[in-house]
C-alpha cells in the first residue's frame, strides 16, 4: 500500500540544469589566466591589489546583506567577479586603501542601492573604478613598468601608503601604450600588446589570455558572443576606416583592438548580462554603440582610454534598447499566406 506524502511542484518538472551561481563561478574561472598573468608580470603588488579588491567586495556584500537583514548573497559569486574585475582594471601600484574603498563603492553604490544582483543598471566594477578615477586622478593614471627584476621580492612603496596620505610614486616610467600614443604618438608593437609585454592596468595587458577566457565562456554558452563581436568588430571597422583615411594621424585598428582595457571590457564587462540588453538584436546595437564610443573617446576625447565610460554609457542605454527592440510577438503580424 502506498502511503507516502508526495511533493507538489509546479510544471515544468525538469530544468535545463544550468544555474546562476555556476555561471558566475565559471566567469571567475575564465578570469583566472588573466589574473595569473597579472601576478606574473607585476609581481606581489598585483596580487595584493587584486586580493584586496576581491576581499573588499565580498565583505561589503556580506555586511550590507546582514545590515539590511537579508540572507547573505555572497554564495552567488557575483561579488567575487566584481572584485576581480575591479582589481584587474586598477594600476598595479594603486594604494591598497584606495583599492579597498573602490570595492566598497562598487558593491554599495554600483549594486546594493539598486536592489542587489540583477537590479543594478551599471556594471558594479566600473562604477567603483569611475568613482576612484574621479577621486584619485593621479594615482589611477600612474603606471608602472611590467617585468621588473624585483617584482617578486618587493612591493611598490605607493601600495602601502597610509589612508589619506599623498602616496609617492616610483613608477612614472611605465607609460601605457595608449597614453604613449595619445600624447607622444608612439605606437607599440602589436605582438607585445597581444601577449601583454607592456605596461597597463594590472590585468588588462594580456589580450590573448583574456580572449581565451572569453572563448571558454562562449563555448560553454555562458556568455553572449554577440557583444564582444559587436564591440571589437565596430572598433576594428571604425578605426580601420580612419586609419585608411590617414595612417599618420590615426592608430592602426589592430593596435586599437589589443591596447588598453578594450579586450577585458568587451569580453568581461560589457557582457555582464545584467547591464546589457536582453534580445539578440539589442545586444548588437549595444555593442556597436560601445565600440564606436571607444574609438571616439580614444581619438578625439581628452583621455587616452575610453572603454570604461563607453561601457557605462552602454549600460545606461540598455533599458532604452530593451524598450525599443521587442521581438514581434507570435501571431501579431499580417501573416496568413
Amino acid at each position: 500500500m502506498l502511503t507516502r506524502t508526495l511533493n507538489i511542484s509546479t510544471s515544468p518538472h525538469i530544468a535545463k540544469g544550468i544555474s546562476t551561481d555556476v555561471i558566475m563561478q565559471n566567469v571567475v574561472w575564465a578570469l583566472v589566466p588573466a589574473t595569473l598573468f597579472a601576478a606574473y608580470s607585476f609581481g606581489i603588488s598585483a596580487v595584493l591589489v587584486i586580493s584586496v579588491s576581491v576581499i573588499s567586495c565580498v565583505l561589503t556584500e556580506h555586511f550590507l546583506c546582514k545590515f539590511s537583514k537579508k540572507g547573505s548573497t555572497i554564495s552567488d559569486w557575483s561579488a567575487v567577479i566584481t572584485g576581480l574585475l575591479l582589481g584587474l582594471t586598477l594600476p598595479p601600484i594603486f594604494p591598497l586603501w584606495m583599492t579597498f574603498c573602490g570595492g566598497v563603492i562598487a558593491i554599495a553604490l554600483g549594486k546594493f542601492v539598486f536592489g542587489g544582483l540583477g537590479y543594478n543598471v551599471f556594471n558594479p566594477a566600473l562604477v567603483g573604478r569611475a568613482v576612484l578615477q574621479a577621486a584619485f586622478p593621479v594615482a589611477i593614471t600612474t603606471w608602472y613598468p611590467a617585468f621588473l627584476e624585483n617584482r617578486f621580492t618587493s612591493v611598490a612603496t605607493s601600495l602601502t601608503a597610509l589612508p589619506f596620505m599623498q602616496p609617492t610614486f616610483d613608477g612614472t616610467s611605465g607609460a601605457t601604450p595608449l597614453s604613449a600614443f595619445k600624447f607622444d604618438h608612439i605606437t607599440a608593437n602589436t605582438s607585445d600588446l597581444a601577449l601583454g609585454l607592456v605596461s597597463g592596468s594590472t590585468g588588462e595587458t594580456c589580450a590573448a589570455l583574456i580572449f581565451l577566457g572569453g572563448l571558454y565562456l562562449i563555448a560553454r554558452n555562458m556568455m553572449n558572443w554577440r557583444i564582444p563581436v559587436a564591440i571589437l568588430g565596430s572598433v576594428f571597422v571604425f578605426s580601420g576606416v580612419l586609419y585608411l583615411f590617414d595612417s599618420q594621424v590615426y592608430p592602426s585598428p589592430v593596435f586599437m583592438i589589443f591596447s588598453g582595457g578594450l579586450m577585458l571590457g568587451a569580453m568581461f564587462m560589457a557582457t555582464d548580462m545584467v547591464g546589457s540588453p536582453i534580445t539578440s538584436l539589442g545586444v548588437v546595437i549595444y555593442g556597436v554603440f560601445i565600440g564606436v564610443l571607444v574609438v571616439v573617446i580614444r581619438i578625439w576625447g581628452g583621455l587616452p582610454e575610453g572603454v570604461m565610460y563607453a561601457i557605462l554609457l552602454g549600460n545606461a542605454l540598455s533599458p532604452q534598447i530593451d524598450k525599443m527592440i521587442k521581438p514581434r510577438v507570435y501571431g501579431t503580424a499580417n501573416h496568413k499566406k
Partner: protein, 451 residues
C-alpha cells in the same frame, strides 16, 4: 532576420527526450481495477449529468452520464459492474466533483455494448459531429477539450487543411508514438470521418523526427484514395501545441488570440483520431486510453491501455514503484500536473504518469534574482519577454503585463522556466497573473452588464 524558418517555429527548447525506455514497448492491456472512480469533469466545459442510480447494474460501454450541454461530453462505463456510490470524487486539481464509484463484476467477461453505428458512407457531417460527442471523445493529447466543438466550423469560415498531430513533444511520453505504430487503420478511418465532418480538402500528419519509424509505417499504410501527406519536422518543444505545429507545417502564424480555423485549419491529436476511427463505426463510447507509465521510480515501465477511471493508486501498485517515490505527475514533465492524492483516477486526458524518486528530483533549487541572461527570451515560442513579465508579476503590474507585454498570449508551455538559470518559477507567475487578470475582466464584464 527571417521571421520563420522552414519546417519549424521560432525559438523553443530541446529538453532531453527520455523516450527510449518505452518507445519500443507495445501497448498492453491493463487489468480492471476492482473499483473504478469516474468524475463527471474529465473535459473542459460543463460537467456531465449522471443518469444512473446507486445500486444499478451496468454493462461495459453503457451511458453513465450524459453531456451537460453543448461544450460537454458523456461518460460511459469502462467496465461492467454495480454503481456503488454517487458522490463527490477527488480530481487532480484538488477539487471534489460529482462522480461515480463503479464496482466491477469479478472476472467479468467484459463484452462491450454497442450503440448505433455511424456509417462513414452515409452519415452527414453533422451526424458525425454528434457521433463524436456521443462517444464522449475529447482531445487525448492532454487538453481534454471536447473534439466535436473544435471540429464545428463556423458558418463564415472554411477548413482547408486538417492537421493530425503526431508530434508528442513532451519528454517521456510515447503513447502517440505507439498508437501510430499499432493503430494505423484506426487513424486512417478516423481521418475519413474528420474529413467529412470538417470538409477539409487535404490532410497533413505532422510527426517529429524522433519517430521516423512511425512516419514510415503510416506512409506505407496510407490508403491511396486519401489526400494525406506525412510530414516529418525537426524535434523541438513545444511543437505539439496547435499554433506551433501550424507554423512548422504551413509556415504561417495563427493570429494572436485566434483559433487555427482563422488560418483555415483544424488540428486533431493522432490518438483522438484513432479513437474516432475505432468507436464511431460501432457507436461505442470511449472506455480506455493509452497511457505511458514511466519515470525513474517505476518498475514495469510501458505503454498501457488503461480503463478510464482506474484509480492511480491501483495503477502504481500494478506497475510497481520504488519505496522512496517523491513526486508523481500526470502528463509530461513540461506541462503535466503534480499529483498530491493517489486516490484520483486516470481520466480521458491522462497521457502519461511519471514517477520520480527522492533522488531524482533536484530539490529546492535555489532561486536567484533574474540576471537578464535572455535565455527565456530566446526560448519563448511566442516571443514574449518572460524576464520582464516575471519582474512585473512580482510588482503585480498586471495591466502593464497584458497591454505592453502580451501576457495573455502566453500558453504556459514552460520553456522559459525550463531554461532559467535563476530557477525563477516564471510559468507559475504567469498562470497566477492570467487567472487574476481573467477574474478582473469577468468582474468588469459583470459590472458592465448590470449597468
Amino acid at each position: 532576420m527571417l521571421s520563420f524558418h522552414k519546417n519549424t517555429f521560432r525559438h523553443g527548447v530541446h529538453p532531453p527526450e527520455y523516450k527510449d525506455e518505452t518507445r519500443g514497448l507495445p501497448i498492453r492491456q491493463f487489468p480492471f481495477a476492482p473499483v473504478i472512480i469516474l468524475p463527471t469533469v474529465q473535459h473542459i466545459g460543463a460537467p456531465s449529468e449522471i443518469v444512473v442510480r446507486e445500486g444499478q447494474e451496468v454493462l461495459r460501454g453503457q451511458l453513465l452520464a450524459k453531456s451537460g450541454g453543448y461544450v460537454s461530453v458523456p461518460v460511459h462505463a469502462p467496465v461492467s459492474g454495480t454503481i456503488r456510490k454517487i458522490t463527490n470524487v477527488p480530481t487532480i486539481t484538488g477539487k471534489m466533483v460529482p462522480g461515480i464509484y463503479l464496482e466491477a463484476f469479478p472476472a467479468s467477461g467484459q463484452e462491450v455494448m454497442e450503440g448505433t453505428p455511424i456509417e462513414i458512407e452515409t452519415a452527414t457531417g453533422e451526424e458525425i459531429l454528434q457521433g463524436i460527442q456521443a462517444a464522449g471523445i475529447v482531445g487525448l493529447g492532454g487538453a481534454a477539450f471536447p473534439t466535436h466543438v473544435k471540429l464545428k466550423i463556423p458558418e463564415d469560415k472554411c477548413c482547408e487543411v486538417l492537421i493530425i498531430n503526431g508530434i508528442e513533444c513532451e519528454p517521456f511520453l510515447t503513447t502517440d508514438h505507439r498508437v501510430m505504430l499499432e493503430q494505423a487503420d484506426d487513424i486512417f478511418m478516423g481521418i475519413r470521418y474528420l474529413l467529412k465532418a470538417t470538409g477539409a480538402k487535404r490532410v497533413i500528419i505532422g510527426i517529429e523526427a524522433n519517430k521516423q519509424d512511425a512516419a514510415k509505417h503510416l506512409k506505407g499504410q496510407a490508403p491511396n484514395d486519401l489526400p494525406v501527406t506525412i510530414k516529418v519536422v525537426p524535434v523541438k518543444y513545444p511543437q505539439g501545441s496547435e499554433k506551433m505545429l501550424i507554423t512548422s507545417l504551413l509556415g504561417y502564424e495563427v493570429p494572436s488570440g485566434g483559433l487555427p480555423i482563422e488560418v483555415d485549419s483544424v488540428v486533431v491529436n493522432v490518438a483522438t483520431t484513432a479513437e474516432i476511427g475505432r468507436l464511431l463505426p460501432h457507436g461505442r463510447g470511449i472506455q480506455e486510453r493509452v497511457v505511458t507509465i514511466t519515470g525513474p521510480g517505476v518498475k514495469k515501465k510501458g505503454n498501457y491501455l488503461i480503463p478510464v477511471g482506474t484509480p492511480l493508486r491501483y495503477v502504481l501498485e500494478q506497475v510497481g514503484v520504488d519505496k522512496h517515490i517523491s513526486e508523481v505527475y500526470m502528463g509530461g514533465p513540461m506541462m503535466g500536473v503534480a499529483v498530491s492524492n493517489l486516490d484520483i483516477s486516470i481520466v480521458k486526458g491522462t497521457s502519461g504518469i511519471l514517477v520520480f524518486g527522492e533522488k531524482d528530483v533536484k530539490k529546492t533549487s535555489k532561486v536567484y534574482p533574474c540576471i537578464k541572461c535572455g535565455a527565456c527570451v530566446d526560448a519563448c515560442p511566442i516571443s514574449l519577454n518572460p524576464s520582464r513579465l516575471g519582474i512585473l508579476a512580482k510588482f503585480e503590474a498586471y495591466d502593464q503585463m497584458v497591454e505592453d507585454y502580451h501576457l495573455l498570449d502566453c500558453f504556459e508551455c514552460g520553456s522559459c522556466s525550463y531554461v532559467c538559470p535563476s530557477h525563477i518559477p516564471l510559468v507559475q507567475y504567469f498562470r497566477l497573473s492570467k487567472s487574476i487578470v481573467r477574474k478582473r475582466q469577468a468582474i468588469k464584464q459583470a459590472a458592465a452588464n448590470v449597468n
